[in-house]
């Protein structure tokens, strides 16, 4: 790879990595796992950088790899780590409201299916149009709409999020 190519890739990483890490955290609920996921996605993008950089939307390509990696890691998940349905006990004294909200959101997300979570994150956090979400997930636009609708309904009913919104809206 030429120096220019490496520079272009470095610029892509610098401009996108924080957004990708946020997306990955919302998918995994864990910063270490999120960083691992993003590094894998970016490494795969680098190995095909000629094709990725010349694509109409390199972002969409990387996000698709990210979501696929997430799906793969979910399939490999080991028994023993069970997504928590309840807020943890406050063992260490007071926890800041922001941290409580973060735990509540992460816990609520773990109660969605992985596809519901991916649709919510790509559609409403990354603001991708439904067609791009469908392309990233390899499904129909109609599936994105119905999955997103069900995911929002579940979040609205989730008692963990009751204190942080008055009706989750798209």
């Amino acid at each position: 790879m030429s120096r220019d190519t490496q520079d272009a890739f470095a610029a892509f990483v610098a401009s996108r990595q924080r957004g990708l890490q946020r997306t990955a955290w919302l998918l995994t609920g864990d910063w270490a796992a999120a960083e691992d996921l993003v590094q894998n996605a970016l490494a795969k993008a680098w190995r095909r950088w000629d094709r990725v950089s010349s694509a109409d939307d390199p972002d969409a390509y990387v996000r698709r790899v990210l979501v696929n990696e997430f799906a793969s890691s979910w399939r490999r998940r080991w028994r023993g780590e069970i997504p928590t349905a309840d807020l943890p006990e406050r063992l260490g004294g007071d926890i800041a409201d922001g941290a409580v909200m973060r735990v509540a959101v992460a816990s609520a997300l773990t109660r969605l299916t992985k596809r519901q979570r991916a649709v919510l994150v790509l559609r409403y956090v990354d603001d991708l149009p439904e067609a791009q979400v469908a392309a990233a997930l390899g499904c129909a636009v109609g599936t994105v709409k119905s999955t997103g609708s069900k995911a929002l309904a579940r979040l609205r009913e989730d008692p963990l999020l009751a204190g942080f919104h008055e009706g989750v809206r798209p």
């Binding site: 990595q17 993003v38 190995r47 780590e81 973060r102 809206r169």
Partner: protein
């Protein structure tokens, strides 16, 4: 509380990543991915080639391949030499012995340090968080294990290479404080699942815990205080 969109709520929850990802680490990972794929292709070719020699590979003295993928240089003079690639197997529960190193308690919060001995007879690697469950009066509790939450268990996991007989450690916390009308549940033993494994090893330990209060850290090479 203001109404807000799901996007705002999720973005607020995620906040800023704690670390930036460096390009060199991405490039290094891409090289490793390429090596693994090259190794898999070469190994597949080796399997096909071995098929032609049939039982010769099974004769006494033939190289043994267990969990290691070892691809050495070809013995055929005219064949191009290939780079040796060795993949160390991951540590599994079946090849691990565990015991409690220390138990400390204060203000209703118990801290337990666990020592894991590699009994597999070979070097292995481990990365990540173990899984845990506890056995009580009504069987396995199905506790919800949380990662991190205390300073000494909030570090990021690192890959640890453990030689045969070597040790690694992890720490878990639990609370026995009665809150919201719930009571703690007594346990007489625990099971630990090594990261990325599907089987568990037994851990002799007793206590009384709130099932949602278990918090643990990653497997580490550093002996806990």
């Amino acid at each position: 509380m203001n109404d807000r969109s799901i996007g705002e709520l999720l973005r607020d929850a995620a906040g800023d990543p704690p670390t930036d990802i460096g390009v060199p680490s991405v490039l290094a990972r891409a090289r490793r991915q390429r090596m693994v794929i090259a190794g898999q292709v070469t190994a597949a070719a080796a399997v096909v080639a071995l098929g032609g020699f049939g039982l010769a590979a099974l004769q006494p003295g033939a190289a043994k391949h267990d969990n290691n993928v070892q691809i050495g240089s070809s013995s055929t003079p005219s064949a191009p030499a290939t780079t040796a690639i060795t993949t160390t197997p991951r540590c599994v529960s079946a090849g691990s012995a565990m015991h409690v190193l220390s138990t400390q308690g204060a203000a209703g919060t118990m801290r337990v340090a666990v020592r894991i001995v590699n009994t597999s007879g070979h070097t292995c690697t481990v990365t990540g968080y173990p899984g845990m469950d506890f056995y009580g009066a009504h069987g396995w509790m199905g506790v919800r294990v949380n990662r991190g939450g205390f300073p000494d268990i909030s570090g990021r996991p690192h890959t640890v290479t453990v030689r045969a007989g070597g040790t690694t450690y992890f720490v878990f916390y639990f609370s026995d404080v009665v809150t919201n009308g719930s009571s703690c549940k007594s346990f007489s033993k625990a099971e630990v699942t090594m990261p990325n494994d599907t089987h568990s090893a037994m851990l002799a330990t007793t206590g009384c815990l709130i099932p949602t209060s278990v918090r643990l850290g990653p497997v580490t090479a550093v002996r806990p205080q």
